[in-house]
């Protein structure tokens, strides 16, 4: 909701896309009050809103699932246990169909990613101005409530997956096996001279492919959620003007939100499946 006519559209949008940032300032550590201050903070700045909402949603997931796990019975399940089991069974099916290695971490990893990403994405369905407006009343001026529209969050997860992938690649195939995977493909030869000649080319191609994994993994989620959030913001711009525009804006918000239910679920699912596929690549020999 554009607060009266004092805020222009571009200011409104920019305001919505600015994180609540905590970091080193000229006069000690504190919360930034403008985009310029954030830029000055550099690497040691921290997005309090992304951290808060991502940890809150993650903790909610862990709390609910561990509570259910503690009470889990193999007899007749309660409705909540049935719900949890449905998700766990769904993840288990996916992991068993795409992951051929033997590793206990993959299934819980996939479960955590699916639920966590879904819940972070779900924050997108909360009316775009609601939480920022409430927080504005108590003096917090910047708020981005959807953690997955923050590349730090998506990269944090994808790099975490990437490191696990490197770790298990080396653990399963050995350092030599992993190195040969990076240098002996796609150009192969039995001639030792040609092999050495192909080595840098292969390393370049495979290296790009390797680096592209966490980048595409996180940017896919980030891009989808950022664009979705952007559309919510753009539609809500209509609320500032005439009554007819406001009503049609409300209808558009609803339609986009309904469509977005599909998007957030799909993105969480894709992130989870890609994680499982990457882990499978780490465990499979060529």
């Amino acid at each position: 909701m554009a607060t009266a006519g004092t805020v222009t559209s571009s200011e409104y949008i920019r305001h919505h896309l600015t994180n609540l940032t905590f970091g080193p300032k000229a006069d000690g550590w504190g919360i930034a009050h403008s985009a310029e201050e954030i830029a000055e903070m550099g690497f040691w700045a921290m997005h309090l809103d992304s951290m808060f909402w991502s940890i809150a949603t993650g903790a909610l997931f862990i709390w609910f699932f561990s509570r259910m796990a503690k009470k889990a019975t193999s007899g007749v399940p309660s409705t909540a246990q049935g719900f949890v089991e449905m998700i766990v069974g769904f993840i288990d099916d996916n992991v068993q169909s795409s992951f051929n290695g033997k590793n206990d971490i993959v299934a819980p990893l996939a479960l955590t990613i699916f639920c966590w990403v879904f819940m972070m994405n779900f924050m997108d369905l909360i009316p775009v101005d609601l939480i920022p407006w409430i927080l504005d009343k108590i003096g917090i001026h910047y708020q981005k409530v959807v953690p997955s529209t923050d590349p730090n969050v998506t990269f944090g997860m994808s790099i975490g997956v990437f490191l696990l992938m490197i770790y298990y690649s080396i653990k399963v195939k050995g350092p030599g096996g992993f190195a040969s995977e990076l240098t002996m493909h796609p150009f192969e030869s039995n001639n030792i001279v040609l092999k050495i000649l192909f080595l840098p080319i292969n390393l370049f191609l495979e290296g790009v492919g390797l680096i592209a994994k966490p980048v595409s993994h996180s940017l896919r989620l980030f891009g989808n959620m950022y664009a979705g959030e952007m559309i919510f913001i753009l539609i809500s711009l209509m609320f500032g003007s005439s009554i007819i525009l406001s009503i049609s804006g409300g209808a558009l918000q609803f339609v986009w939100a309904v469509f977005h239910i599909l998007v957030i679920t799909l993105q969480a699912f894709i992130f989870m499946v890609l994680t499982v596929v990457y882990m499978d690549m780490a465990h499979s020999h060529h």
Partner: protein, 156 residues
């Protein structure tokens, strides 16, 4: 869109959540699911087994009934046969008994007849002697002519 220390924190929490999920969530729930799966599978197998046993029991019961029926009819036919045999036997027995009685009676009659004839013979002898005595008017020595008289009596 600034990449900053948030990323590192995010990675830390990512690891924590995954660890939590592995340690306190996954195995408990998947174990419960798998345990229930085996319970259900066992139950279904047991139900199928029970059904098969029931069918088999029904079959044996039918077999028993059929056996009992055939046995009963066998017993009945045996009894009928035995009955006719008994009747036949008693009939034969009665006939032989009757014949025996008739024979005995005939024999008795014969004996009686013989006896009567004997007595008659003796009396006739005496009568003849008496008559002869009277006719001859003379005393005939009965003892002297006993031989003759007996011969006469035997001729009668």
């Amino acid at each position: 869109m600034n990449i900053n220390v948030t990323l590192l924190w995010q990675m830390v929490f990512f690891v924590i959540f995954v660890w939590f999920s592995k340690k306190f969530v996954w195995s408990f729930i998947i174990d419960a699911i798998n345990e229930r799966k085996t319970t259900i599978a066992d139950g279904l197998a047991a139900a199928e087994k029970g059904q098969r046993a029931e069918e088999e029991g029904l079959k044996t019961a039918e077999q028993h009934i059929a056996d009992a029926k055939s046995q009963a009819s066998e017993i009945i036919s045996k009894a009928e046969k035995h009955g006719t045999e008994l009747v036949e036997e008693s009939r034969t027995k009665a006939r032989t008994e009757g014949e025996r009685i008739v024979t005995a009676a005939q024999e008795e009659i014969q004996t009686e007849l013989n006896k009567a004839r004997e007595a008659l013979r003796a009396q006739v002898g005496e009568l003849a002697v008496d008559g002869a005595r009277q006719i001859l008017r003379r005393e005939v020595d009965a003892s002297a002519h006993a031989d003759l008289l007996n011969r006469l009596a035997a001729k009668l």
